[in-house]
């Protein structure tokens, strides 16, 4: 089992508080995504973004959320066998969980290096698999947590604070 944590420095305290208290989200949006379902991939992130837009979240922050969640959603359908996506909205931040059906990430540190990719030809032909997914997610979020079992499932959690 491998775990990876990235927390933007200024949000360390608030992030720890979240994982200590595990508060109830005000709104939960649930989605499921199949393997290689490139038609529906992106639906969850756009629905979550739409909800946040309606809440009046700043457009620059919205853009970061949209980019990161779209990348993670594509990962789930392109590199994994699909899975569940849950958008948990709290008054001050959004936490989005991507829980895929495997096959797990062998070496998370390596997959964080821009350009590293394990994608097959079919995925590359679709214009994905450039090895920029996880680094791009990291660049756009305040918290990135990856929990993966090689040969098993991967949980990717991202948090973006509204201010």
């Amino acid at each position: 089992m491998a775990e990876y944590w990235y927390i933007r420095q200024e949000y360390e305290e608030r992030t720890h508080q979240h994982f200590d208290d595990l508060p109830e989200p005000v709104i939960t949006l649930d989605f499921t995504l199949g393997e290689r379902d490139f038609v529906n991939a992106g639906n969850a992130s756009s629905q979550i973004k739409m909800a946040l837009k309606r809440l009046g979240v700043d457009s620059a922050i919205l853009r970061r959320i949209a980019i990161a969640s779209y990348e993670a959603e594509i990962n789930e359908t392109a590199h994994a066998k699909g899975g569940d996506i849950t958008g948990n909205i709290y008054p001050e931040y959004v936490l989005i969980k991507f829980y895929d059906k495997g096959p797990g990430i062998e070496d998370i540190e390596q997959s964080m290096i821009p350009g590293f990719s394990t994608a097959d030809d079919q995925v590359r032909e679709m214009g994905f698999g450039a090895g920029l997914g996880l680094p791009n997610i990291k660049k756009n979020v305040d918290v990135l947590h990856i929990d993966s079992v090689a040969g098993g499932r991967t949980l990717v959690e991202i948090i973006v604070f509204f201010s």
């Binding site: 837009k53 309606r54 809440l55 009046g56 949209a66 980019i67 779209y70 909205i89």
Partner: protein, 427 residues
Amino acid sequence: MENDKKYFHALQVKTQKCVACMKCVRVCPTKALRIREGKVQLDDTRCIDCGRCITACKYGALIPWSDTMEITKNKKYKVAILSTAFAGQFSDKVGYPTAKKAIYHLGFDEVLEESMITEQYSWMIRKYLKEYPQTRPVLSSNCPAVVRLIQVRFPSLLPNLLHLESPMSVLAVYYRQKLVNEKNIPDDDIGIYQIVPCISQVTAVHQPEGNIADIENGAISIQEVFGHALEVLPEAASDEREIDVYTKGLSLSVSRMEASENDDGNIRTLAVSGISNVIEILLKIENQQIDPYDFIVFHSCIGGCVGGVLNIENPFIAASRIRHIISKGKDTKFEDKRISEMFDNGDFDVTPLAGRSIMKLSSDIKTALEKMKRIHQINATLPGLDCSACGSPTCLTLAEDIVEGKATLEDCIVLLRKKVKHRKNNY
């Protein structure tokens, strides 16, 4: 505005004619329409004048408004500016030059064509793209419905709009100045009238967004002009004077052709038409999930301006005719250095537009969250059929309307039926 509404719309609502068929409610891309108490209601803030409801309404409850020929009586020197879509309304038998002559016979002193400016307008766009290399993609601003859509649903993309008057307005600004300076016609005597294919352009003339005020004196629909033009066609056909026609620039009326006008090999363009396609692409741009385009041409109507509701002819036929005129018709080259100078001088610049977001549930995020929570709770109890029999376009919108106090759960006919059945079974 004269009717003290905050937003003027060239969409007329004839409440008494509404039969509550719900067709308009379903097609509105900004969810601006509701049926309440059996009659249609329009939310002025949300409406972008795309005209889709006008096409949907078969009962005359939602009809277009535009100026009539009457309005030209107010001015001594009358100038018509023909939208490029106008050329597609007449059969080959009539011919574009005769159709244009007919407009003179309606009493206009001068007849200009939007197509005159196409080439110089493309030059302006290319120059603009060079001046603002950090703004990508630049979004065309000549479809007023799309501009309003961006204001209400995609305010974060407002900086990407081409901050330039539309081709017809550029022509109007330039020509008015020319008449005053070169022909010594008093500004007050000049009447410039756009002959337009859609209601969003009527609205743009009567309530310009960030535009230079009072460029045009009216917007007359192609339909209105067409009827009058038919009467004078025989005269026009036997009128033997030579007139110039600017056929090449008619490409502006067809979405795809308009985009390629600006494509000089270094500029990557995309043409998008039809309001649902426009929304889809704007979402992609907002999420930065789009190929690196430099310039994107948007048209709310399918096919471009030929698809506007104020046209006569089917958009595909009109587009085909226009392509025919462009390839076979005689073209006149139009260029005036004065236009380039005016552009460089900033005379056609548009002030940045303000957003008027309809998206936010509240200005305070906590209140908005609470509202959204209640919306989701109510939505979960609704049947999810999106039948719009309640008068709201979808179940989710009904839930929103209930939370906003504009509807009640009893408006849901499906739930009501279930209740009645339940009661029957219990007696």
